[in-house]
């Protein structure tokens, strides 16, 4: 069986982004593989290392040329080959799912791993939309996966707690923090990744024109109250702090 793992390139969590011309300007920001997708890449590798009959692990990314770097990271972690659908157009999750579904079919994969929530759109739609297009079951917010033959078992979060599941492949799985601890690519594997296949593809083949257009962007700023408590009398200060936490911030009962 083959596994397809989707990789997105997003600003590093500590990167400072700017807005210019109503758009997010990533010039100068450190870009990395989306942490959510790292869990997917890691899990694909672990399923294979755990003895499952995984014939090939393929990483897929869409976006401008720079996205290659994120794919090289996936290759250095251990993915076998990569496909880069190169485009300067930003794809909304529904448009992107069209690409993912078609690549999955063309490559004959039976398991798709995508991050549960994308750091660039913050939507949770990609996994669901891809599953819908393919008519495959989807398992969201997984925290444990195991593969035996063509049966995937695992656990995932639901509103009221945690469920165990069993599903015959093919399936779409969304990943999240806690599923695993992604490995660092080792230096020899970074060297080897340079020799692995990174196939370029164009967007036109997929008919995946985005329907959502971003017309403006703003940086969210949070105004702080900067409330200071006089600490001269520790008991009074503690009482005041408790009062504020209880009645104003409403974070304790």
């Amino acid at each position: 069986m083959k596994i397809l793992t989707l990789v997105r390139q997003v600003p590093d969590a500590e990167a400072r982004v700017k807005i210019s011309g109503g758009q997010v300007d990533l010039e100068g920001a450190t870009l990395v593989m989306d942490g959510m997708d790292e869990y997917g890449v890691e899990e694909a590798l672990r399923l294979r290392e755990g003895g499952a009959a995984v014939e090939e692990i393929v990483a897929l990314a869409t976006g401008p040329k720079r996205v290659e770097d994120a794919l090289r990271t996936a290759l250095a972690m251990g993915v076998d080959r990569a496909i880069h659908v190169e485009t300067d157009q930003a794809l909304d999750p529904i448009a992107l799912s069209r690409v993912v579904a078609q690549v999955a079919q063309a490559e004959g994969v039976s398991l798709i791993l995508v991050g549960g929530q994308e750091a660039d759109w913050d939507s949770q739609a990609l996994g669901a939309a891809t599953a819908e297009r393919l008519g495959w079951p989807q398992l969201t917010w997984t925290n444990e996966l195991a593969l035996e033959g063509d049966t995937l078992t695992g656990r995932h979060d639901v509103d009221d707690g945690n469920e165990s599941f069993r599903v015959p492949l093919p399936a779409v799985v969304t990943t999240q923090q806690g599923l695993n601890e992604p490995r660092y690519p080792t230096l020899p594997n970074i060297m080897k990744a340079k020799k692995k296949e990174l196939r370029k593809d164009t967007l036109d083949a997929y008919g995946a024109a985005p329907t959502v257009r971003v017309v403006g962007s703003d940086i969210q700023t949070r105004a702080r109250l900067n409330k200071m408590i006089d600490g001269k009398d520790p008991q009074a200060a503690a009482a005041e702090l408790l009062d504020l936490l209880r009645n104003e911030a409403k974070v304790i009962a």
């Binding site: 770097d69 090289r72 660092y184 080792t186 594997n189 060297m191």
Partner: protein, 380 residues
């Protein structure tokens, strides 16, 4: 002209930086308190490939050129300097002689085990009577049949207490002066007559262990002669020359870490009702640190590029090492000043860097020796 590091090298830097800041830093206090690097950390470094940095791929290493090695050294410098010292003494001066001068048989025998971290390497040239005056080496190696018999004492030898292999410089023909020295591959644990003395108590760079190495009629197989007999002092020092670029890169990484810590502290530490970053006195220190980092980085990158181009870097390697390590001392001093009292406390990495960095102006050629090399080359 292109000042962008290739993508694979940036990726390697990110991997090494991540390992140093997340995995090693979490155990930093333990390394400080025990003066030992936990074995799990050495295994982690081995898995990452750090022990094989300068070893060709055919022998199980990463096979990086000078630019790649130095890029990794800069990332290494951003973490615990004692830990970085173990790696760099192994991958730089401990390995480069064998890679450059070794026979195929010698390389097959040692390099794969060195790349995997199973055999840690070191370089033994310094003696009690020959530090900067390296030509005054007394350790003798006399040929007797199939062996060389070594007698003498080396000291301050980095990695000696943990080394599986030492490249030892000894006199093979006293009559030939500096042209009568040779290099030997010595396996301390497996060579009767080689004793490792007690571990030196250093000011900093904890976990990077150094000690005396005493040779008493130690018989080293003639097959372990590295390079031609009497290869001479200059060739032996060639091993140190390339190592100097790496030191400049590590110093740059250390400065970057100190600046990052200083910026973070200045933005959050409030005095007189505002973050201290608002004060020009602090801003100026941060700006001076940045200038030191940018200039040092340009220097190591240029010299590493020259090495990869096959150019003679004797003068420029000294320029880079001298400049970057002197700047590092200034930057560390400023970082303590920005951090204030906290920068003087053991809980702060700034305090540790302040002690650790001092060695870089001394080992692998003091600042003064670097100046002599530069001036002699100018006047030659």
């Amino acid at each position: 002209m292109n000042f962008t590091l290739p993508e694979d090298l940036r990726e390697m830097q990110a991997a090494v930086r991540g390992f140093m800041l997340e995995v090693v830093e979490a155990r930093a206090r333990e390394i400080e308190d025990t003066n030992r690097v936990p074995p799990e950390l050495l295994r982690g470094a081995a898995e990452l490939g750090l022990f094989g940095l300068s070893i060709p791929e055919e022998y199980g290493g990463v096979g990086l050129g000078a630019l790649g090695r130095c890029a990794v050294y800069e990332a290494l410098g951003q973490g615990h300097m004692g830990f970085g010292g173990v790696i760099s003494a192994h991958a730089s001066i401990g390995t480069s002689g064998l890679v450059r001068l070794g026979t195929e048989e010698q390389k097959r025998r040692f390099l794969p085990r060195m790349a995997s971290g199973e055999c840690i390497a070191g370089f033994a040239i310094t003696e009690p009577s020959s530090g900067s005056d390296a030509a005054n080496i007394r350790t003798r190696a006399e040929r007797r049949g199939d062996v060389y018999v070594l007698n003498g004492t080396k000291h301050y030898i980095s990695n000696a207490p943990v080394a599986g292999l030492l490249t030892v410089i000894a006199v093979t023909d006293p009559a030939r002066g500096t042209r009568g020295m040779s290099a030997f591959l010595v396996e301390p644990g497996r060579t009767p007559g080689v004793t490792i003395g007690k571990i030196d108590e250093k000011m900093g760079q904890k976990g990077s262990l150094s000690a005396e190495v005493i040779f008493e009629d130690a018989e080293v197989p003639a097959a372990n002669l590295l390079g031609p007999e009497h290869l001479g002092y200059r060739e032996a020092l060639g091993i140190l020359t390339n190592g100097r670029v790496g030191i400049a890169a590590r110093a740059t990484g250390a400065m970057q870490r100190l600046l990052d810590l200083s910026v973070a502290h200045a933005k959050t530490r409030e005095q007189f009702g505002q973050p201290i970053a608002e004060f020009q006195a602090v801003q100026f220190m941060l700006a001076e640190m940045e200038v030191a980092i940018q200039t040092s980085r340009l220097l190591w990158q240029k010299v590493a590029w020259m090495v990869d181009e096959g150019q003679d870097v004797r003068r420029m390697a000294s320029v880079a090492k001298l400049y970057a390590t002197e700047m590092l001392s200034q930057v560390a001093d400023k970082a303590v000043q920005v951090a204030g009292g906290m920068g003087y406390m053991k809980d702060s990495p700034v305090e540790r860097y302040y002690r650790d960095q001092r060695l870089l102006r001394i080992y692998e050629g003091t600042s003064e020796i670097q100046k002599l090399i530069i001036a002699r080359d100018l006047l030659a």
